[in-house]
C-alpha cells in the first residue's frame, strides 16, 4: 500500500531555539523529514524560529517560516498556507505541545488540518502520568511483565511509617501532593530522614498528603527505540544501556548501544513490553522511546516513561545503528509501511527489520558548569548537559575512550599518571554523580579500590566496572614494559588509548608515540556502520576507526575535500558551526568534489550519512584526523582539509595538521595566527591604521593595576587563551581587580591576563565577510541591541543595522577589507567592532565562520558558508557572482531600503540550573557567553521583528498590564522615554523608590513597591519578589550595576525566570521592547516565508 494520495501539503513544526534537553537533534530529524516529504512530491511548509538550522534553509522546504512557534503564529501560517496535514512529532516537545494546544483550541478542525504521525489520544496516554500508569498495568496483564514504581498515598506520619513496610523498606521517595515545582520532595534513607522529610511534606501539602514511592535509584537503566506502521508492524531499532544507573537523567548519562548486560530472555521481555506499550498507547505510525529500570538483584522491570515522538535518543539511535528513524517516521506518516521502505544502507533489504550491531557505541555528555559556577553540579533527573559526543568502536573500551576524548575538555580523558589520591575519599566522591564521575572512579581504581567497592559506591554495573579495570591494567602494562612492543601497543590501541595517553604513561611526546606506532605498522582500519553486522553489503560509506585487521575504505577517483566539524555542542560552539560545515559539503559536492565529513556529534545534520559522500564518525583530535587523512590519501586524491567552518575546534588543529604535511585549504594557519595572536593582530591593525581599545597584558596584580590606571576604569579583563569569553569580566574598580587576579588560577607568566579598556556606552557591531585575496564581499553588518561588554553570543542584534548610516558602513567595509587582507584570509572572517564617540574600534577578528553565519545568510538570502567553501578551494568572489552563488551586484552591506529587518535573540538556560540550596542562578548578561541557542524574528520593521524574536525566545511580549522598573543609576536617564511609552500603551508602572522618584520628577506616575530586602510592609504590602511570584507583574526591567543592588536584583531576576515573566536586563533591550510592544499594539502582525522575503530582496537588488 503506497503513500496516501489525499495529502498534498504538510506543515512541519520545528523545535525552536537550542535549549538544554532540546537541541540540534531536532534539526537533524526535521531536516530528514522535510527532505523525505518533499521527495514524495508534497508541498512542505515549515515553521521554526531557529535560524541556525539546516531545516530552515530555503531549499529544504517549499515555504519556510522563521516565525515564533506559538499557537498564534502557527495559526497565521495555517490560515495563509492551508496545509492538508500537520506533522508534530519531529520538533520535540515544543512542536508536540503547540500542536496539542492548537487541537484543543479547535484551530486544526477549523482549517481542516489532519494531525499525522500521532493522534491526540496517544500523545495524552504517553505523556499523562496517570494515564500511562494505566497503560503499564494493561501491558502487564498482557505480557506478564513490567510495572510502574510502587507507591502509597499517606495522610499522617502513621501512614507514612506503615507505607515504608508496604514498599519493602528504605530508601523511599517522598513527594508531597500539590506543591509547586516538586517542593518538599526528597529521598529518605532511614526513619529519621523520613520523619523529617515526610513531616515537612505533610505540612507543605495543602491536602496534608504525601506520596511515598519505592526508590529505584541505582537500578540498571535501559531505553528502547521502537517504530510502528499503520499495519501494526513494529520493530525495535535500538537498545541503549546507561552506564550511569537510575538517578541520572539519560541525557546526562554515559550511554551505550547496544545493551551490554542483558541475556536474551531479559532483553526479549523489554522488547515484548515495549511493543505492547506502543500498541496500547496507540502510536499508529512513527517512533517512540521507552525507558526502563531493571533491578540488578532480581530483574524486576519498571517502566519509567515513554515519549510518543522522535526524541534525542532516537537521533542517537539513528546514528548508532544507521537506521534513520525520523526519515522513516515521515514516510510512515504519509502512508507507507515499513516493508515498503528500503534500508538506505543496504539498498536491497527493507526497513522492516531490526538493526544488529557488530560494534559498540558510547555517548558521553558535555556539560558547561564552568559557565554557571553557582549552579549545583550534582547530576539528577533534570537534564543539565549542553551537548554530547558519540563514538564507535569495535569494543566498549575503544568506544568509551574515543567518546571521552571527543568531549574535547581538559581532564575528560582518563589519566594514568600522577598520584590518584586517597581511595576512601575518591570512593566517597564517586557516590555523587557529577560531570566526570567516571574519571573519579578510574582514580579510585588506581588508588586500589576493588570492583565491589566501586559497585557499592556507584551501582555501576560490574561488567562496566571490569572494563574500567581492564583499561587500568593495560595502562599498568604500558607503564611497566621495557619498551613499546608492537603487540602491547596494538593491544592498547584496540582498547582506545590515544597517542597522547600512551605518551603520558611512557613519558613521551605525542608525536614520538605516533612515529613509533607508524614505524611498527600499528594503524587503524575503518569499518562500516551497516545496520546488519556485515550480513549484506553496505552501499553507504559511514565509517569508524578501529584497530582491527581489514579496512573497508574504497578507492575513489574524484578529489576529496575533508571537512572538519565542530564536535560536541557547547556554549559558544553549537549548531551554527554545523550549519556551515553542512553547507560546505553541499556546495563542494555540487562543484564536483567528493566530500568527506569528520565529526563526533550525534545530534547534527553533518553526521547524517546522507549529507556527505563519506562520513567518518570520529573524534576531532590531531591523532584521529591525521589517520583519516592518511586513509583517504590512500583511497584517492585529497584536495585539502577545511578547518575554518567548524569553529574553534578544527581551527585549533590547523597548524599541527599543516606541520604534518596535511594540505589546509582556505585561510592558512599563518593567517589564523595573525588574527588570534594579540601581538601579530596588533601589527595588522597598526599597519592598516585601525584603532583598538587600549590594552595591556599582565601576570601580577601590580602589573594589571598599572595598566588599568593608565587606561582608566572600567576595564575588561580576561585570561588569555580562552574561548567563549570564559572568565571574562568588566571590572569597575581596583578592589575587584585585585580579587579577580587573586581568584584567577590560570594566570601565569605563560598565560597572562589581558586588560582592555572597556568602552562604556559603545555600540557593538559584528561583521561577517568573505575575502578571496582580491575582493571583499561584506556578508552582513549586525548592530547589537545590548551595548558592548555583553558577549556577542548573548546579545540581540539587528541586520541591517538600525542606527548606522552609509558613512558608518563605508568605514566598516574599509576596515574589514584592510583586516582581511592584512591577516591573509581566504574565505570567511568575522570582525567585532565597537563604535564609541564616533571612533570605530576593532575588538577582535575571527578568521573563520562565525556563530552568526546562518543568521546573516538567512537575513540576506545569500549562502555565505557555501561561498566560503568555494573560495577556500580557489574560486573568486567574481566567479561566484557570475555563477549566481553570490548576488551579481551589491552585498550584505548595501541592502535595499525596503529589505526586511532581521533580529537575532539569544536564549538563556537559566531555568535549568539551581544552586546547592535549590535556588535559581542569576540571569545577568556579561562578557562571558552563557546562551545555548538563538531565534530570529524577521519582518519589514524593527519593532515587529524584535517582538517576534522575543515571542520566539521567551514567549510573547506583554501588550498591557503591569511593568516593574528598577534600573541602575547610570541607566536612569535612558529609561525615561521608554517608560513614558509603556504608560502610553496602558501599562501600569511599578518601581523601587529610587527609580520611582526619577520617573515622578519626569511626570511619569509609578507605584513604589517594596524591595525584597525591605521585607513585607506593616500593612501586608508585598515585596516585588512576592508580587512576581503571585503573577502580579507582566514585564520586568531590571538592570544591574557593579556589585551594588545586586542581591535584590538577583531575587527579582530569578523570580522572573521561575514565573516565566519577560525580564529585560538592559535599557537598550527596554527601548527595543517598547518598539515591539508598539508594533504589536499597532495592528495585525503578519507572517512571511523566507522564500517570499528572498524573492522580494532579489527583485529590489535587481
Amino acid at each position: 500500500m503506497p503513500k496516501r494520495s489525499d495529502i498534498r501539503s504538510v506543515l512541519v513544526i520545528g523545535s525552536g531555539p537550542i535549549v538544554i534537553g532540546q537541541a540540534a537533534e531536532f534539526d537533524y530529524s526535521g531536516t530528514q523529514a522535510c527532505r523525505v516529504l518533499k521527495a514524495e512530491g508534497l508541498r512542505v511548509i515549515l515553521v521554526n524560529s531557529n535560524p541556525a538550522t539546516i531545516m530552515t534553509d530555503p531549499e529544504i522546504a517549499d515555504a519556510t517560516y522563521v516565525e515564533p512557534i506559538t499557537p498564534e503564529f502557527v495559526e497565521k501560517i495555517i490560515a495563509k498556507e492551508r496545509p492538508d496535514a500537520l506533522l508534530p512529532t519531529l520538533g520535540g516537545q515544543t512542536a508536540l505541545n503547540t500542536a496539542i494546544s492548537m487541537h484543543e483550541q479547535g484551530v486544526l478542525e477549523k482549517y481542516g488540518v489532519e494531525l499525522i504521525g500521532a493522534n491526540v489520544e496517544a500523545i495524552n496516554k504517553g505523556e499523562d502520568r496517570d494515564l500511562f500508569k494505566g497503560v503499564v498495568e494493561a501491558v502487564r496483564e498482557r505480557t506478564g511483565h513490567g510495572e510502574s514504581a510502587r507507591s502509597v498515598i499517606c495522610h499522617s506520619m502513621d501512614d507514612v511509617l506503615k507505607g515504608v513496610d508496604t514498599l519493602g523498606g528504605y530508601p523511599v521517595v517522598v513527594r508531597p501532593s500539590f506543591t509547586m515545582g516538586g517542593a518538599g520532595s526528597g529521598f529518605a534513607h532511614d526513619e529519621e530522614e523520613l520523619r523529617r522529610i515526610a513531616g515537612q511534606g505533610l505540612t507543605l501539602s495543602p491536602t496534608t498528603e504525601v506520596l511515598l514511592e519505592e526508590s529505584i535509584l541505582g537500578w540498571k537503566e535501559y531505553e528502547l527505540e521502537l517504530m510502528r506502521d499503520k499495519h501494526d508492524n513494529v520493530v525495535v531499532v535500538c537498545s541503549i544501556e546507561n552506564f550511569d544507573p537510575m538517578g541520572v537523567h539519560t541525557g546526562d548519562s554515559i550511554t551505550v548501544a547496544p545493551a551490554m548486560t542483558l541475556t536474551d530472555r531479559e532483553y526479549q521481555r523489554l522488547r515484548d513490553i515495549g511493543i505492547a506499550i506502543i500498541r496500547e498507547v496507540g502510536v499508529d505510525t512513527g517512533g517512540c522511546n521507552i525507558q526502563f529500570a531493571v533491578d540488578p538483584a532480581d530483574g524486576r522491570i519498571i517502566v519509567i516513561e515513554m515519549n510518543p515522538r522522535v526524541s534525542r535518543s532516537s537521533a542517537l539511535a539513528s546514528k548508532a545503528t544507521g537506521f534513520p528513524i525520523a526519515k522513516i517516521a515521515a514516510k510512515l506518516a504519509v502512508g507507507y509501511t515499513l516493508d515498503e521502505i528500503p534500508n538506505d544502507i543496504t539498498e536491497k533489504t527493507p526497513a522492516s527489520f531490526e538493526p544488529t550491531l557488530d560494534y559498540v557505541v558510547v555517548k558521553a555528555p558535555r556539560f558547561a558548569f564552568e559557565k554557571f559556577p553557582s549552579a549545583d553540579s550534582t547530576l539528577t533527573t533534570t537534564m543539565k548537559s549542553v551537548g554530547e559526543a558519540m563514538a564507535i568502536g569495535r569494543n566498549f573500551t575503544e568506544a568509551l575512550q574515543k567518546a571521552l576524548r571527543s568531549l574535547e575538555k581538559k581532564g575528560s580523558q582518563f589519566t594514568f599518571v600522577g598520584e590518584p589520591g586517597d581511595k576512601a575519599e575518591l570512593l566517597a566522591q564517586a557516590v555523587r554523580p557529577t560531570d566526570g564521575r567516571i574519571n573519579t572512579v578510574m582514580q579510585a581504581i588506581r588508588a586500589g579500590a576493588t570492583p565491589e567497592e566501586v559497585f557499592d559506591a556507584t551501582r555501576i554495573d560490574p561488567w562496566f566496572v571490569d572494563q574500567l579495570f581492564l583499561l587500568k591494567e593495560i595502562a599498568d602494562e604500558l607503564g611497566a614494559a621495557d619498551k613499546l612492543e608492537p603487540e602491547l601497543l596494538a593491544e592498547a590501541k584496540r582498547h582506545g588509548f590515544s597517542d597522547v595517553q600512551i605518551g603520558e604513561i611512557r613519558g613521551l611526546r605525542e608525536d614520538v608515540v605516533r612515529e613509533v606506532r607508524h614505524a611498527l605498522g600499528v594503524r587503524p582500519v575503518y569499518k562500516t556502520v551497516d545496520t546488519c553486522a556485515a550480513e549484506f553489503a553496505a552501499r553507504t560509506p559511514y565509517f569508524y576507526s578501529s584497530y582491527d585487521e581489514e579496512s573497508e575504505v574504497a578507492p575513489r577517483e574524484k578529489p576529496a575535500v575533508i571537512i572538519l566539524g565542530s564536535g560536541p555542542n557547547r556554549i559558544g560552539q553549537g549548531i551554527e558551526f554545523d550549519y556551515s560545515c553542512v553547507h560546505a559539503s553541499f556546495a563542494l559536492s555540487d562543484a564536483g568534489y567528493e566530500t568527506v565529513m569528520v565529526n563526533c556529534n550525534p545530534e547534527t545534520v553533518s553526521t547524517d550519512y546522507d549529507t556527505s559522500d563519506r562520513l567518518y564518525f570520529e573524534p576531532l583530535t590531531l591523532e584521529d584526523v591525521l589517520e583519516i587523512v592518511h586513509a583517504e590519501t590512500l583511497a584517492g586524491p585529497v584536495a585539502g582539509v577545511i578547518v575554518q567552518l567548524g569553529g574553534q575546534t578544527p581551527l585549533g588543529l590547523s597548524q599541527a595538521l599543516k606541520d604534518n604535511g596535511v594540505p589546509i585549504v582556505g585561510t592558512p594557519p599563518e593567517a589564523i595566527h595573525a588574527a588570534e595572536d594579540r601581538g601579530a593582530f596588533g601589527r595588522v591593525l597598526a599597519e592598516a591604521g585601525l584603532p583598538a581599545p587600549k590594552h595591556g597584558t599582565a601576570t601580577t596584580f601590580a602589573g594589571a593595576k598599572a595598566i588599568a590606571d593608565e587606561i582608566g576604569y572600567p576595564v575588561l579583563v580576561r585570561p588569555s587563551y580562552v574561548l567563549g569569553g570564559r572568565g571574562m569580566e568588566i571590572v569597575y574598580d581596583e578592589t575587584r581587580l585585585a580579587s579577580y587576579i587573586a581568584e584567577s588560577t590560570e594566570i601565569s607568566p605563560s598565560r597572562p591576563v589581558l586588560v582592555d579598556r572597556f568602552l562604556d556606552d559603545a555600540i557593538e557591531i559584528d561583521v561577517d565577510a568573505l575575502y578571496d585575496g582580491h575582493e571583499l564581499y561584506l556578508g552582513g553588518v549586525m548592530e547589537h541591541i545590548e551595548e558592548a561588554g555583553i558577549h556577542s553570543g548573548d546579545s540581540a542584534c539587528a541586520l541591517p543595522p538600525i542606527t548606522l548610516g552609509g558613512f558608518d558602513i563605508k568605514r566598516l567595509r574599509t576596515s574589514t577589507e584592510a583586516i582581511a587582507e592584512g591577516v591573509g584570509v581566504r574565505g570567511l572572517i568575522n570582525i567585532q567592532f565597537a563604535l564609541a564617540g564616533d571612533i570605530l574600534y576593532v575588538l577582535e577578528a575571527n578568521p573563520r565562520a562565525s556563530r552568526t553565519v546562518p543568521f546573516t545568510s538567512k537575513a540576506t538570502a545569500v549562502p555565505l558558508a557555501k561561498a566560503a567553501a568555494r573560495i577556500s578551494l580557489g574560486a573568486t568572489v567574481a566567479e561566484l557572482r557570475a555563477e549566481g552563488l553570490l548576488p551579481a551586484v551589491g552585498d550584505g552591506g548595501e541592502l535595499p531600503l525596503d529589505a526586511p529587518i532581521s533580529v537575532k535573540e539569544a536564549v538563556m538556560p537559566w531555568s535549568r540550573f539551581r544552586d546547592i540550596h535549590g535556588r535559581g542562578v542569576d540571569t545577568i548578561l556579561g562578557p562571558e557567553m552563557r546562551s545555548t541557542g538563538e531565534v530570529m524574528g524577521i519582518d519589514s520593521v524593527f519593532g515587529t521583528a524584535y517582538a517576534k524574536s522575543q515571542a520566539g525566545a521567551y514567549g510573547p511580549l506583554p501588550t498591557k498590564g503591569r511593568a516593574f522598573i528598577s534600573v541602575a543609576n547610570r541607566d536612569k536617564r535612558s529609561m525615561i522615554f521608554p517608560a513614558r511609552e509603556l504608560v502610553a500603551h496602558g501599562f501600569e508602572l511599578f518601581a523601587t523608590s529610587g527609580t520611582a522618584e526619577v520617573l515622578r520628577r519626569n511626570g511619569i506616575n509609578a507605584t513604589v513597591v517594596r524591595k525584597q530586602s525591605e521585607g513585607e510592609g506593616p500593612n501586608g504590602e508585598k515585596t516585588i519578589v512576592q508580587l512576581i511570584h503571585e503573577g502580579g507583574v507582566d514585564l520586568i526591567v531590571n538592570t544591574p550595576y557593579g556589585t551594588g543592588g545586586r542581591l535584590d536584583g538577583y531575587d527579582i531576576r530569578t523570580a522572573a525566570v521561575a514565573r516565566s515573566v519577560p525580564c529585560l536586563t538592559t535599557v537598550q533591550a527596554l527601548a527595543a521592547a517598547v518598539q515591539g510592544i508598539d508594533a504589536l499594539n499597532g495592528g495585525d502582525v503578519g507572517v512571511r516565508s523566507l522564500q517570499e522575503h528572498a524573492e522580494h530582496l532579489t527583485a529590489s537588488r535587481g
Binding site: L262, D264, R265, T349, S352, D358, P462, E535, A537
Partner: protein, 385 residues
Amino acid sequence: MTTSDQGTASQRQKAAPAVLVLEDGRTFRGRAYGAVGVTFGEAVFSTGMTGYQETLTDPSYHRQVVVMTSPHVGNTGINDEDMESRRIWVSGYVVRDPARVPSSWRSRRTLDDELAAQGVVGISGIDTRALTRHLRERGAMRVGIFSGDVPADEATLLDQVREAPEMKGASLYEEVATEEAYVVPAVGEKRFTVAAVDLGIKGMTPHCMAERGIEVHVLPATATAEEIYAVAPDGVFFSNGPGDPERAEHPVALMRSVLERRTPVFGICFGNQIFGRALGFGTYKLKYGHRGINQPVQDRTTGKVEVTAHNHGFAVDAPLDRVSETPYGRAEVSHVCLNDQVVEGLQLLDQPAFSVQYHPEAAAGPHDAAYLFDRFVSLMEGQRA
C-alpha cells in the same frame, strides 16, 4: 608514573595463541578461548546481539563453527535456565571480545569456563567482521581452529581443514536427537497430545506447546509411524535439526505417512525442509545461510511482517508466485524472508499441515511469531470438530 605495586596487571593472563584457518586458505590469528585444542566444522556467522547461551546449546549448530558478529560475548555468563538442550553443540566458537567478568543475577559460571568444561575449542581477538565479510562473499566453508602449541606451518593446517567433512550431504540429525522418548506435560489443563519428532529439538519448542495445553511426546528421530500413532496424537510436530535435508530420507518418509493420515502437522526449520521434500519440492544450500534474530519475514496470508529468529543453511525451493499441486493437494509458500525472498514457510491448502523455516519458539530471539503455535492449536481443534 605511579603504579600500585599489588599490580592487577597479572590478572590479564594471556591465553594461548590460536589460529583459525579457512578452507580457502585465509587465516586469522588470535588467542585461545574455551578449550585449548583443535576443532573443525562449517564456518557460519550469527548476527544476534543477545542469546549466545541459547545459540551454543541449539542442536542445529552441530558440527558448525559459529562466528559471533557481536563483539562482546559472555557478558551475562552462563545460567541454569537458558539451555536449549543438554549440552553445547557448536564445534567451535569465534568471538572478538570475551567477557572477563559476567554480570547477571542469574549467572552461575563464566562462558569461558563452560566452553572449556565441555571441551569446545574457540578463538578470540580476531577481526570477526573481516571473517564475516569473507564468508558472506565466498559462502560458508570448512574451517579449523588450532590453539595451544600450534604448528607454524599453515599449509599442514590447511590440509587438515580440507580433509574435514563438508556440510553438504551430511546426515547429522541422528547424532543430536534423543535416544529415548520422553514426555513434556501440558502446563495447566491438558487439551491435546502431540508427537514431536526430535531431529535436534530445542527445549523451548515443547515448552511453547506445553504452555498451550499440549502434552508433548518427544520421540527419537528414528521413530516409526506406529510409534507416533501409539501416543494417539492430535498433531505431529517435526523439529529443527542439523545437516543436509537431502539426507533425511527417514524423516521425509515418516512425514509422508503422517500426511497420508491427514493428521495436523507442524514443522520448524529442518521440519520445514522435510515437509517441503515430502511435498515434492527440492532443497538447496544457501550461500551463507540465515543466522540471527532480526530477520524480517512476511506472513503472506496477512501481509504482516514479523521479526524472527533464524538458523538455517538450507532452504526449500518452492515457487513464490503460484499455488503448487502436491500429492496432498494444493500447497503454497506462506512466509517469505523480505531480505532475500527465501521461502520461510509452507502450507497445504487442502489439509491441516504447515511449517516454517524460522523459529517461532525464539530462544534466542523475538516472540513475534509465537502465534504459529496458536495456529497449530487451531488446526488440531479444527480436526477434532
